[in-house]
């Protein structure tokens, strides 16, 4: 996993499957990165290199959404999920609380607009 900050957004690049076994490392990584910067409000998850996700992965993402929403009034954006991952996110209802975009520019533009999903 890699993270970088762009303005008020933390962009986290995930690699590999997000399931029961890897969810804990993801949670810990994002928590640590968030703790390192009070300026960060929004979380952009780069999911382009994630071939698989199940409900454990969904739960881990939902948990991070709650943290940034409750503690920083921020938003969560999923960048570039592949089709199987996109379906799981849709089925889980997670897409109701986050936007799904295809490019980083789209993600940043969306945050600038400050509209769409609450």
């Amino acid at each position: 996993m890699e993270a970088r900050r762009v303005g008020e957004s933390l962009i986290v690049r995930l690699k590999g499957e997000l399931d029961l076994n890897t969810a804990e490392a993801f949670k810990a990584f994002v928590r640590e990165e968030l703790a390192a910067s009070r300026r960060v409000r929004h979380l952009i998850l780069d999911l382009r290199a994630v071939p698989f996700i199940d409900s454990s992965g969904v739960g881990a993402i939902l948990g991070r959404y709650r943290e940034i929403k409750e503690e920083r009034a921020g938003r969560l954006i999923a960048w570039g999920p592949r089709q199987p991952v996109r379906r799981v996110l849709a089925l889980s209802g997670l897409v109701r609380v986050m936007d799904v975009v295809d490019t980083q520019q789209e993600a940043l533009a969306l945050l600038k607009e400050g509209n769409r999903n609450p």
């Binding site: 029961l20 076994n21 409900s55 454990s56 969904v58 199987p84």
Partner: protein, 150 residues
């Protein structure tokens, strides 16, 4: 090794209830399932469903202890995939409640979505369980192409 009547092929595996083994189980079942005419999308669905059933066993069956999870998959003579995920753990008191979305005995972790995915992605899901008697989840799926072809 002779196969029971009506069974064209069979694999079985058992492993300790560790999160590290979930990926192996779902991948192995998907590779086995690819002997049937499943699309890549259907194989992805099978992976998710098996992942959920095995994750449930790993998380819920034995508490913080490690027990045995058994996964068996068969291809029936009719061309259907049937997967059983079994544990000898604490069992489920109320299967009906456990299967409802948004319910989970460990809140915030998986949103109780495991059964939602299993039901959405498989043709059939059965749960046999009783307190103290372990749990057996049965997952069934046939390739949609085969069904259309009749």
């Amino acid at each position: 090794m002779t196969l029971p009547d009506g069974i064209a092929n069979r694999v079985a595996m058992e492993f300790p209830s560790k999160a590290e083994n979930v990926a192996f189980a779902r991948t192995a079942v998907a590779v086995f399932a690819s002997q049937l005419d499943f699309t890549l999308e259907e194989l992805d669905e099978i992976k998710v469903a098996v992942s959920e059933a095995v994750s449930n066993a790993v998380i819920h069956a034995y508490g913080d202890a490690v027990g045995t999870v058994r996964v068996e998959a068969v291809i029936t003579a009719e061309g259907e995939l049937v997967v059983w995920v079994r544990d000898d753990g604490r069992g489920i008191e109320d299967v009906g409640t456990a299967r409802q979305a948004q319910w989970t005995s460990r809140p915030e972790e998986r949103m109780g979505l495991g059964f939602t995915f299993m039901e959405e992605y498989m043709d059939g899901v059965e749960v046999d369980s009783a307190p103290g008697a372990g749990t057996r989840v049965t997952l069934r799926k046939a390739p949609a192409r085969a069904r259309v072809a009749g």
